[in-house]
Amino acid sequence: MLQLAVYNLLSPIVLSFVLGLGASLARSDLSIPEAAAKAMSIYLLFAIGFKGGVAVADHGLEARLVATVLAGVVLSFALPLLAFALLRGMSRLSVVDAAAVAGHYGSISIVTFVAGTSVLESAGLTSEGYLVAVAAAMEAPAILSALWLIARGGGVRQMDGDLWREILLNGSIVLLLGAFAIGAITGSEGLARVEAFLVSPFQGVLCLFLLDMGLIAGRGLREGARVLDRGAVLFGVLMPVLGASAGAMAALPLGLSTGGTMLLMTLSASASYIAVPAAMRVAVPEANPSVYLTLSLAITFPFNLTLGLPLYLAAAQWLTTG
């Protein structure tokens, strides 16, 4: 476990993140152009979706796929309730802010997922390809829970049809599922044609992407720190561990592999920083974006990337092989 953690901390991926974080905290002007960052995230989503699809094509569609997707949806609906209760107990956030934050923790961060697969690879483990589809399925339900929590608290709740379409058809879900379908249709033969683009350079692109995440997280720490009280910060490292535990409890009865268990834990532990913030800006503009973005990007993401992932892997190994 400790060895795993050290190995992970000294991987090029985590060090790139740390470099970005340091540069940003030292107020260097280092920055990645917005278009390049967006292009990298499209690349990562396409690659991870494609590879997941190919894995499913290779191993055949399991009945477990549907069950796991359902489990993911339930987790996404339920985790915000836990997060909300914790936040209201631990921090001084208002109902609206707490609910908005809670929505982020039910949903997922695909980069954390990608970093998780990369930790698995280093450990020589594989996972069920369809976890990519589970990731996509877990993006949106948490938003509903957040809005419900706000409505329950007497807050306004504006959920028009446009917002529905935007959430369900947001670029990252469509790209992830679309690439998954392409991978499933073309299989290993299709992968062979694009391997030199989607597989070999993957880790390197991930480094540069995490460099950018580090820059953003550093800026978040600089600017957002003052909006978070101690309880909220604590929540940011406690909630992922609880989320991962919930993910593990869902994974065990499903009979997922060690890798699959670890990834479902990672999804549950991670917090959204793209889809949910955008939905919250539209539906709950009075919630303070600095609160939820700082928590998600500058506290929970670094925690998961550095300590969380090896912890979840160790736990998954212990649970599935023990």
Partner: protein, 103 residues
């Protein structure tokens, strides 16, 4: 040259609200606008910038509409209904245009 009086309305608004605003403008009978990117800014909710934005997921844009003076009020009402609960700035300037038949 012959010019005609018009109003230039500049609405700075979050990108996530962009289509909601332009849909509202369309419904209010406004037919033309241009959308300019905004690189960063500062306001009551803090500072932000496109590269490495944290405090606002998606940044802001500026929607510029040039309209005949008599169409200003429905435009402002439509815009206000959208920006009311959201952050953003609406700024109106007197201007002159060539080719008034276009507005």
């Amino acid at each position: 040259m012959q010019t005609h009086k018009a109003k230039r309305v500049e609405i700075t608004i979050e990108k996530v609200m962009e289509t909601r605003l332009t849909d509202a403008l369309t419904r209010a009978g406004v037919t033309g606008w241009s959308i300019l990117p905004v690189r960063g800014g500062s306001g009551r909710s803090g500072a932000w910038s496109r590269e490495g934005q944290i405090s606002r997921g998606t940044g802001m844009v500026q929607v510029v509409c040039i309209v005949r003076p008599e169409r200003l009020d429905p435009l402002l009402e439509a815009a206000f209904a959208v920006v009311e609960r959201h952050i953003g700035v609406v700024c109106i300037t007197d201007c002159e245009v060539l080719r008034a038949e276009r507005f």
